[in-house]
């Protein structure tokens, strides 16, 4: 069952010559109870895409279909806010420093209009238990919590309104390795119990590998490859995905993958080349890539790649 469908989505910041196209024609699907990992380097538009999906940014064009309805610009509706939640990268700055944990959790509880305030209080107790924090944390303020605990509170806040989908924007990148693993296992547990869908945005490929069912790779505002997590990590097809995966340091010293080191850097989004945006760094580039823009096309079952050489 498809919960969310994104069709030909564009988001451009600014106007005229200085316009920055952050998202350029993205198609994406997210099923109920599914986790899609969205990976890419800084500036590739993954956060912008996430913000458009929860309604924090309005798309320039294109459709965001959530459970059958086009939801672009629906942020005013309490029911939409209840069903779609977001967890941000830095819990330190996304939680109100003056609020006690209980106050923070009570806010989204107001979206549960059918519940009395006693029921909301019960739900706070229950949600804190789910994220693994004791009841003594109810009266704490963000300053009194560690990074891992803060992120648990942020997850609890997202869970309070019983959402169908949570957009997680780099939820673990400010955490240490051991705490990162815990948060991932917590998120998986919650998904198993509540069938919530995740869009997991991250630049950390090893974390995405642990949590996502499918992975979408973004480069300069476009999705260049989508595949099942296992297939993508074992057999990446787009030249950018290959380079990206090979660049991740691995613990296996005897079996170090042959590294593909990309030359140069990502071109500026304000002056994109004609044709494929990866052409200047690609090792499979040929004449067609310089005149025509490749489109995301299915190459195998459940796998799409945006590259002429692979298609």
């Amino acid at each position: 069952m498809t919960l969310l469908e994104v069709r030909d989505l564009y988001k451009t910041y600014g106007h005229g010559a200085g316009a920055v196209p952050a998202v350029r024609g993205v198609d994406l699907e997210l099923g109920g109870g599914e986790t899609v990992g969205l990976v890419g380097e800084s500036g590739c538009g993954k956060t912008t895409l996430g913000r458009v999906l929860v309604g924090l940014n309005t798309p320039t064009s294109g459709d965001v279909i959530f459970d059958g309805d086009n939801v672009a610009g629906r942020l005013q509706e309490a029911e939409f806010r209840r069903r779609v939640q977001m967890v941000f990268q830095h819990p330190q700055s996304s939680l109100n420093p003056k609020f006690k944990v209980s106050t923070t959790l009570r806010e989204p509880g107001r979206l549960l209009t059918s519940k009395s305030s006693e029921e909301v209080e019960e739900r706070i107790v229950e949600t804190l238990r789910v994220v693994g924090l004791g009841q003594e944390y109810r009266s704490r303020r963000p300053k009194q919590l560690s990074g891992g605990q803060l992120q648990r509170v942020a997850i609890a806040r997202a869970l309070m309104s019983a959402p169908d989908m949570i957009v997680l924007d780099e939820p673990t990148s400010s955490l240490d390795q051991s705490i990162r693993s815990r948060i991932i296992s917590l998120l998986k547990d919650i998904q198993e119990q509540r069938q919530v869908s995740y869009l997991f945005i991250s630049h950390d490929l090893s974390t995405v590998r642990k949590i996502a069912h499918r992975v979408a790779v973004m480069y300069l505002g476009r999705i260049v490859e989508v595949a099942e997590t296992r297939a993508l990590f074992e057999d990446p097809q787009h030249p950018y995905t290959r380079a990206l995966l090979s660049a991740v340091p691995s613990l296996d010293m005897d079996n170090q993958r042959k590294r593909i080191i990309l030359t140069g850097e990502t071109p500026s989004p304000t002056s994109l080349p004609i044709g494929c945006s990866f052409q200047d760094r690609c090792n499979l580039v040929h004449d067609r890539c310089r005149v025509e823009t490749p489109q995301l096309g299915e190459t195998q079952a459940a796998r799409s790649v945006e590259c002429f050489a692979v298609q």
Partner: protein, 311 residues
């Protein structure tokens, strides 16, 4: 005698009975890359700063010594000597570490001018050559840029150019790539490795990423709570971790971790073994401080368990 010898480094807040670093010892040979690995707050950066004699105000070294080729880095009055000038450091946030009001060519030039007593023009020429050497395309043009006009990867290359311009004996790289994307990270790793072998300097590579350790380092010292837990060649550490903390850290990367187990963060025991209260194998003796015990010619572990289970 090793190139750099650090022995029993103990560092604490002035007047505080609880040390920040406790009996930290390690050594670096010429051409060798030693990784200091640990989670945030484990004392990696503090150990590097103490080695150079660059402790922040209010923090003092109460015991221990760092020697470069047998010469102490601080004179009997506690002042940093010229010996320390043979150590260069690359910082975590390249954009913040550069002077924003100075053209990058001049910043590199100043270092060369001061250390090699060249004139301003010759120093600038040498700087441009150095920029080309660290893989900056069009060094003459880039030398006239200010840091804000350059990307993070470029700024890090400029930091590296500054660090190696004076052919240091020891290069300290403090999380040189945490602010960068993985594909750029791969480029920077390659650059540091090739420059180090070219100059023949020893490298202290500070990181929290064990994957990066596997890729970069020859030997590794694992730190927790200001204590060196284990020191070993990288390959042996990954194949056969001896300290309970090292095992735990590796497990959190390679295996699923149960999120209900308590977080392991910067909260450590003040007396005895810093990992004691969280260690599953802890026993009565762990209330005392475990010295770094040599278990084989090139491995040492700071854990009493090693005494009872001789190899």
């Amino acid at each position: 005698m090793s190139l750099l010898e650090v022995e029993g480094l103990t560092v604490g807040l002035v007047g505080s009975p609880y040390p920040i670093l406790r009996e930290v010892s390690f050594s670096v040979e010429p051409g060798e890359i030693l990784a200091l690995v640990g989670e945030s707050g484990s004392g990696k950066t503090m150990a590097a700063l103490a080695t150079m004699g660059l402790l922040p105000l209010g923090i003092e070294m109460t015991d221990g010594e760092a020697r470069l080729e047998g010469q102490s880095m601080v004179d009997p009055e506690g002042r940093v000597t010229r010996t320390a000038a043979q150590i260069s450091m690359i910082f975590q946030h390249p954009v913040g570490a550069l002077n924003p009001t100075m053209r990058v060519g001049h910043q590199v030039g100043r270092v060369i001018q001061i250390n090699q007593e060249l004139g301003r023009t010759e120093a600038l020429e040498a700087a441009v050559e150095m920029l080309g050497h660290v893989g900056i395309p069009g060094p003459e043009r880039v030398a006239r840029n200010f840091p804000h006009q350059l990307s993070g990867g470029m700024c890090q290359r400029i930091m590296i150019a500054m660090a190696v311009a004076c052919r240091p004996r020891i290069l300290i790289a403090d999380e040189p790539t945490t602010a960068l994307d993985v594909t750029v990270q791969a480029q920077i790793f390659d650059l540091i490795k090739s420059l180090a072998s070219e100059i023949g300097c020893g490298v202290i590579f500070i990181t929290h990423d064990l994957g990066a350790v596997a890729e970069m380092a020859d030997r590794v010292a694992v730190m927790y709570g200001g204590q060196v837990m284990e020191e070993s060649p990288v390959r042996e550490l990954l194949a056969d971790p001896r300290h309970p903390y090292t095992r735990y850290l590796l497990e959190s990367i390679t295996h699923e971790v149960d999120h209900r187990v308590e977080d392991i963060g910067v909260d450590f025991a003040l007396r005895g073994c810093r990992f004691g209260h969280r260690c599953l194998s802890a026993h009565g003796k762990c209330n005392q401080f475990p010295p770094l015990l040599e278990i084989s010619p090139d491995r040492s572990v700071s854990c009493f368990l090693q005494l009872e289970e001789p190899i």
